[in-house]
Amino acid sequence: MAVPLRYNLRNLVVRWRSTITTALGIALVVAVFVMVMSLARGLAATYISTGDPRNLLVLRKGSTAESSSQITRDEVRQIRYLAGIERDAAGEPIASPEIQVLVQMERIDKTGTAHVLVRGLGLVGIELRPQIKIREGRMFRQGLNECIVSQRIAQRFTHCRIGDRFAGGKAQWTVVGIFDAAKTAYESEIWLDADEARDAFNRSFYGSILLRPIADAAAVATLTNRIEFNRDLSVRVLPETEYYKEQTNTGAPIQFLGSFLAIIMSIGAVFSAMNTMYATVGARIREIGTLRVLGYKRRDIYVSFMIESVLLALLGGALGCVFSLPMNGIATGTLSWNSFTEVAFEFRITGELLLKGMAFALVMGMLGGLLPARLAARKPVLDALRSI
């Protein structure tokens, strides 16, 4: 026969002061865990949402990021007209040779500078990324040194409002549009015309080619082989989605920080839960004796105190989740070691993360209740009744 749950609930309410302090302690641990992990999650989600599974990306062999890749104009010519690449209405291949350069820009909040990825591309490249929507202003036009910047970049860096001009290479670029990239990695980029970029930044080569193969697995494989095994070409081909998945390792240090904090802080929180449970057991020894006389078994007492500890921890976990929620969607940025550029992303608190936080609280409650509950269950009945 189990001790009624109401007994535990009422006890938590009666001792509200220690209930609140202990629950708050656990809440803060859970909140820190969820927040730091939501940073890593947001960063990963940004990259994973970027690639289009239908596209292939061509990079130089050995390079790990577009910004460090080089593809010669000759290679571009050879690859563009290979069979197996989709053609548009005008019969031109849907392949976008692009150039990526880094430009140092100043942060709006005056905390220093960061490298921003500038992508030079043509019309085909824009069509290959339908998730980009111009929110303010218009698309850049060729021949005028115009550019469009993402909303995130416009919010974070100086000289990125419509009509502003900034220096990049030999040219001055005018911002004519601000685009929304649907939370993809393009949110961290500035776009302008590929030919103008090659000229302004003195580049004789491109960085990458994004192309759309014919939607047929065999054709994709043939095309890939044709490019990779061509000795004249020192390039590699990979699905665009895979490229962006590789970039997610940028979040590894954040994940490490999150786990490290969570482990150490949770030990502290378990100690505090143990303290509270010991105190609550100590104060209720006579009640425990009474329960035993009424016929409740040692096991029932044990389970009852464990439940109480878990309830306490879950209360804390729920509070912690609530504390962390306001961080959801807040934008931030960090340096990607692969591309050496600023990646903008946001805290992303998912249901799964909240569940993990609750599970974490549950474990803390169980560990904290283990010893005190055992102590309560082992008290001899007579001793318990006699104690004051």
Partner: protein
Amino acid sequence: MTIPGFILRNALRNKRRLGLTVLSVALSLFLFTTLQTALHELTQPPTSEDAALRIVVRNKVSLANVLPAKYRSRLERMPGVRHVMKLTWFGGIYKDKANFFPQFAVDSEQLFPVFSEAEIDAKQIQDFLKEKNACVVGNKTMERFGWKIGDRITLQGTLWPCDPELIIRGVYRKGIDMTNLFFHHEYFDELMGNKGLVGTYWIRAENADSVSDLIERIDRTFANSDAETKTETERAFQLGFVSMFGNIKVLLGSISTVIVFTMILVTASTMSMAIRERSREIAILKAVGFDGWQIFGLILAESFGLAVAGGVIGCGGAAFLYRNIDIYSLSHGVLLKLDVTPAILAAGMTVAAILGIVSCLMPAYTSIQTTVVAGLKELD
């Protein structure tokens, strides 16, 4: 019984609770110390006299844009300049991506004059200079991969399309980042078939007074050229790197605050538990003539002692631990070392002291307010 003895007895009456509380305070302060130290390491690169003399010249557009090779002779001719060295980030892979360590192509003759604080055998410098594909490596990286002098290693270029095959000819210790690998810029130029790929120029100025003037003169000299420069001191250059990572200060700072807050909660809750269970004794103390302030003093002393004990274990433990473990290999090269400075220790102990005071305020206030009669009636 003396007053200190009385306080000590009270603190020790429930050893389990005391132990748990001291340990949870200690853990929190351990974490606090760790975060503050990491923050310090990341935002305050160590400075030395030599570092104050060094200036970094890079392309104004970004670090990924190179500078022309001809700038070197122009820089060398400037008054106030003692040494000029090309330094280009290579960023290759040694066998696996996870084996990351910094690699640079440098003007080999200038390397040790510019980084004069690095300790290396003079004979090894000679060997390094003699051979085209020789390299020198910091002792940390040598130990990490178990390399010996004379070993051959191949780096696979990611940024640059070439794979240098190098022979280790020297090991340096101390002074500069002990994880770096340096090899000849001439070899790099040869592999690339291009002499014009210079990432940065590092300059050692004649004296510290001329540094700021020199920085200005360099940028003025190359203004309005194809490759305009951005020149800054080594320190400013390193801090610029840190700021690229985003707001680490805010992140680590706010986590530290949360930890301190959690600690206050935990300690305050323990103190109030400890005091509530002896409300009858406190009432008796009052009855025999102790006044409110004396009782507050007793409670404060106990709480203060508890927090400070936690502080000593936590901060001291962190300092001891980080002095004795190899944080470099544990963090996979992210952190070179965690040096708990006296200032951080002092900050940690101050937090502990404040914690001891703040956490006893509420329970002490309640117990002082309680009348003797009410206190005697109380049950638990």
